[in-house]
Symmetry: D3
């Protein structure tokens, strides 16, 4: 029987934690193998505190953020691979694209989580989304590293919630109930010690999405994560 | 255990057949009780052939279309209730809205199917969608015909595909696989004997949505119906 | 051979002059019979100057505006019919809708010109557009005042340019070259003596749309009118 | 010198508290006279708890909600007028529209706050927005209750944040810093004793809009209210 | 007298056949010289069948697809030039852009046909559209390979229909009646022997666009191709 | 006290004159230091007249346009820096991006003016907007050329009006009253001697935006410039 798997393509370490930590932990709990591709360490643009001491070195910041990311991934129960693509600006090479195609084909994910299509606050985010989508398409091409025995189906893509959703033209179409794994997600928050103000911000986001989820479905739930689908879902029942 | 139920709010008889006949038959097959509210008989605007003979009377056209609708609903396995709201233009009264609220509360549908939000070719369609939505909202109001023992949860709404989807700003978010009931749907088509040219039109729509569904999901399927969701879905897994 | 005809549905007198005066005069020049339906006289909301003298009566304002409109229509070469629907707010009755359906069937227009779909500055405008569209649809219904011998084809609809186009989500899809009839249009402006500041405003609009038209088509032209199409055009060549 | 005034048009009592309580209190503190028009008491649809006891009467629920609204308005420092238009569904009469026009002309507001243009969860909200906009337009018409001495300028309109902003196509264009009056707003929350779960929901909304405001402007602020503008602002400097 | 010419910029061979084959054949029949620029052979991503036999070589797949494309172009009556830009992903170089500018200037097309602006299923398509548009703009620049005697006018651009139009935010604005050349288009389908399932898919698309065209225009027609315009059309009559 | 500063990122010389000349002159008059970054000289695509004489050299055209731009900037009172990025197509290098980041940090602008997000007539424009935005984001990254003493706040971005605003999905959100500096702006027009037809075009744009501004605000004003905001404004009062 085919393994259940998921793939997350994240620009920076914080993103997979704040935006998709619940989905990752929940599917791991449900028996999925989840792999995170973390394109950059967020070393220049998302490590403001580290640069407050004079003389700090880029490599040190990267190492520290890598370690944090590794720990956060462990808490969530996922594997993680780093591309070291640089940040502010992130610049994806053809080699990275190629490696990501290989990952799609190896993991054969049942779903992919990545960034929203637009973000005027952070151009690394839509670029990460673009490479995630492009690799997914290329992985379908029979003539890219051809192998007649390969089976691969392009998975559905879920875009996770950006920091200021309306400014990114993000529209929630799916609210995932993450009550069961909230504590795990919050533990992953705590790894990101330098962004303590965001712990509470994203706790509030989760509570409000949770209340919206409850209201939309008429069920009791407390914590939610919002996603936008890139493609139609195909179903055999409407309820 | 709660009965599984569905509700369809259709402007004219053809609409529930062409646009939602697959969903109706499929859910009936899955054990759902499905109720159709047919707001008008399509007597003036969707019975062109009947008016070709001089001297025909409105009541006769209505009776004929009512009979057809009844038969089509039977083939699909659904109940049907007529509001006789008139067509071209459809005009919904407060009494009809009130009746529809009662139906929501009695049926307690797990899903509602109705028209798209816009249709520049046919203003009866968005009006039907409007009344379907408004009744759904009012049915939630504890102070409307209050009854402390009542349990009612507003159901998800699925908008069915209009005749020219792009002109109606309709975007498919859900493709329902209707392979299992295609023959039933096509039998219902055949009741609408005067619109034979549309049998083939909507067969082509179903085949193309089916191929799109197969392509989006990487599965084999032949016939599909497309729907747009009005509200986010609330889920506990993403695949 | 079928007569060439056009229909204009305008909320207030100024609208058909500023927004469609060129199209009217041009088609008249090309041998079209053009009929204007002017829903209201603009007596309350578009006659600010008239109300500056104390004691003026509504009927007098209406009479004056009716006379002006009549003259402007004559200059443009069109017939005009008034519905006296009131303005600020315009309120269309079922009788008016019915009369407009009759007009569609009598005139059998090759095109209809009316207001844009939205206008946050003036709610009479989208309402006029709504009634124009609804009558066009009803006129297609064989069972509305049935007559098996009637031939009627729903005409294309062109939305004319509102005062602040971007705020109305108006997007020009057609630029009509009105060079040949500019002087006639400008003469019609001059009938609207109390709105002299708008003569120059709409002259500038015409010049800028003219320059855009020239630039889009690579031709020399000076004056233009912009329209948005409500429906696809059906063509047998792309150039 | 002209008095500084503001106008709020709210469908139900909760709306002006949750969505605009900060703006009201802040402008009152800045010396504005603020008037709230509360169209309905929310008696049927937003008083679920009251209907839980059998035999309660509509008039009692209305009286109770009226009292609450009055108190909340007092805490915020605003006047309030009730239209008793009914809720679920709200139905505005021509008399109410006329009264609202009179209020515009009497108050001469420097700004108007009302609901977003769409809300698929609650049709009373866009209807309230529609009447607020329509009255604003009619108040400009010189021929509506003419008076040559009247001075009236149509004010800017700010749409306040709906419960699920993305589903309403609401896009924040203005974030108002309400730090100075947060405690007052929260006191007004506490009047709405039966909706205690919403106190925390809207506190989280205020905190997250506050953090977004701080991030957008590079300033320290804690609590925010988001608004969308309906019309362009006219300025004499860009910073 | 100026020759009548058209230009088609297609990502892969199938695209100009499925999406624009009717327009090409029709204009050829009307005396146009039509040139197709086919950016890639679709060798990796649109030749799944070819890769099913082990050991097949990229060059062989390309040669085979080139031959097919050549034949399909011949059947349609058009010239074809290949850029061999690679597919999945297509990567356009500055040299290709430069060559395409030269082609615009040499062909002086009366219209350009290319891909829709977005396609989440296939990133080669919007990229082809981008290069087609960019070359059209550069061809206007007097200082690019300057020649004071050159006459060049940027042509209108028509975007052809993608595989899943709503997902690409494609909106038909023009429906081209291709009845006269349907058999030719279908013959070109048959060259694409390995994609037989798409023959019927695109026949259904043509039939449904044809029925929509007939309905929009009130004329009898059977087969249509849908296009979206990128720029306003400039006209001297509205019918 | 912090100096008041503004930054303008313009693709070609004409752009900062036609689109933002009023804002530049006005803020200079208000004591701002304004810096213009002019990415290209418009040498190939916006100097049609220069290329009409045979044998003219690219360097000569660039020199002439540079001189003009310098003069226009002087008239407006601003500094100017040229990047010589080429035009038709403009191609921004990583070095240019880096230089622009340095400029942001040195100037610390209170506002940035740049191009709209889309322009199907001119791809240099959205590219200029993209680099202006990307540099603004990178300038926030503490780890880009780290300096713990640096203070930098990302400024609000205002998009200026493109030549055909609706085709670029440009929506005016701010109208700047430029009456005080109109003569200065018009003087800068006159430097662009070869584009005399555009002097009148953009005078008409300014007059019409002025009338719209007056109408929106109920004030007397004559000349306006329209801008779209990229981010919400943060305010402490709504009027």
């Amino acid at each position: 029987m085919a393994e259940k798997t998921g793939l997350v393509v994240s620009a920076h370490p914080g993103d997979f934690v704040w935006r998709a930590g619940g989905a990752i932990a929940l599917h791991v709990k449900q028996g999925y193998r989840v792999k995170i591709v973390c394109l950059a360490y967020g070393e220049r643009g998302e490590s403001q505190w580290a640069w407050k001491k004079a003389g700090v070195k880029l490599e040190d910041v990267k190492a520290q953020r890598r370690e944090e990311s590794q720990k956060a991934a462990e808490i969530l129960g996922a594997e993680i691979e780093f591309f070291d693509a640089g940040d502010y600006p992130l610049r994806a090479t053809e080699e990275m694209l190629d490696r990501l195609v290989d990952i799609y084909r190896a993991v054969k994910p049942k779903f992919v989580l990545t960034h929203a299509l637009e973000d005027p606050y952070n151009f690394d985010h839509p670029l990460a989304s673009h490479i995630a989508q492009e690799a997914r398409i290329i992985a379908q091409a029979a003539g890219h590293k051809p192998d007649p025995d390969r089976a691969y189906t392009a998975p559905p893509v879920f875009l996770f919630e950006p920091h200021q959703p309306e400014q990114c033209n993000f529209k929630p179409q799916v609210i995932l109930n993450i009550d069961e794994v909230w504590e795990t997600k919050y533990k992953a928050f705590q790894i990101l010690a330098a962004q303590k103000h965001l712990w509470e911000y994203y706790t509030r986001v989760a509570l409000n999405r949770g209340m919206q989820g409850g209201r939309n479905a008429g069920i009791a739930m407390t914590y939610g994560e919002a996603y936008q689908r890139l493609f139609p879902s195909v179903v055999s029942t409407l309820s």
